[in-house]
Amino acid sequence: MFKNKKILITLVSSIIVVALAIGLILIYKDYLNKQVEEGDKTVTVYVINDHGDEKYTKTYSFNTDYKFLGELLLAKMDIKVQNDGYGNYLTEVNGMKANTNNQEWWKILINGEMGDYGMDEQPIKDGDEITLEFNIGYY
């Protein structure tokens, strides 16, 4: 009797944990989907590197129906990404590779501010200005 009760409580608790997990993921996905803009949009992408011998700046303009930044960049630009299990992140843009041993990294700015998501979850909107900025130093 006691063992059955213990099994039942464990089962109920496990179901609650799994339900909580599914609920949180659904809320997260729903929130992401609400940010997504369907249809054609014009997006400007700036590539900036102030750390080379000369300042590097290049501007691109894309008309696209992609919904997320990651898919746009991968399809339209000369970039390389890496995924260490936590989603894609930029490692190289236009041949400029970020060497993590030197704490080099590519920052992504959306309309001048850090994006709220990783590149694959970052929704793009008509008129967005995306900046890919080469940085040195993590803090």
């Binding site: 496990s14 799994v18 997990a21 993921i25 997260y28 299990g85 936590y86 709220d116 803090y139």
Partner: protein
């Protein structure tokens, strides 16, 4: 404590720190699935608080040497301290330990966000928290399941081994 027992204790604590590191390293490619939390909770249940704090400090130093400074370095000590607080309340109820372990998982991103907030700003912190939600969920479920499936077995085996360890 005799000299030989002291040596035995030092060896044991070093061994426990190594086990945590091996466990961490073995699962390092699985996002947010780890046994560090699990082992620290079990160790807190069988060792004295200062002994577990030594284990977590040694592990933290090794983590620092291997992966460098990160926002999570202080969290292992916090987990030990919170576990110690609940030690006399939860006792040997491993369902409750599983729930606490899951709680540590879901709040891990939040705990990591604290130093990020202090070192950067609100925007970066919110971006970090949002990006972390799916991984915190994985962390919660895996922490809960690992403790539920292995907690009692490992705890009892460890107690049994420790009973015959010292002279």
């Amino acid at each position: 404590m005799s000299g030989s027992n002291l040596v035995k204790k030092i060896v044991l604590l070093a061994f426990c720190s190594s086990i945590i590191f091996v466990g961490k390293f073995a699962l390092v490619h699985l996002p947010n699935i780890e046994v560090v939390t699990f082992l620290l909770i079990v160790f807190t249940l069988v060792f004295k608080l200062k002994e577990v704090l030594l284990i977590s400090t040694v592990y933290t130093i090794v983590e620092l040497l291997i992966w460098g400074v990160s926002e999570q370095l202080y969290i292992w000590t916090v987990i030990v301290l919170i576990t110690a607080l609940f030690r006399n309340v939860f006792k040997e109820n491993f369902l409750l330990w599983s729930i606490l372990s899951g709680f540590f998982g879901i709040t891990f991103g939040l705990m990591c966000a604290l130093p990020i907030y202090l070192l950067t700003d609100k925007t970066v912190t919110i971006a970090y928290l949002w990006a972390n939600i799916p991984y915190d969920v994985i962390h919660m479920v895996s922490n809960y399941m690992i403790m539920l499936l292995l907690g009692e077995i490992v705890y009892k085996k460890l107690k049994q081994l420790l009973a015959g360890y010292y002279n």
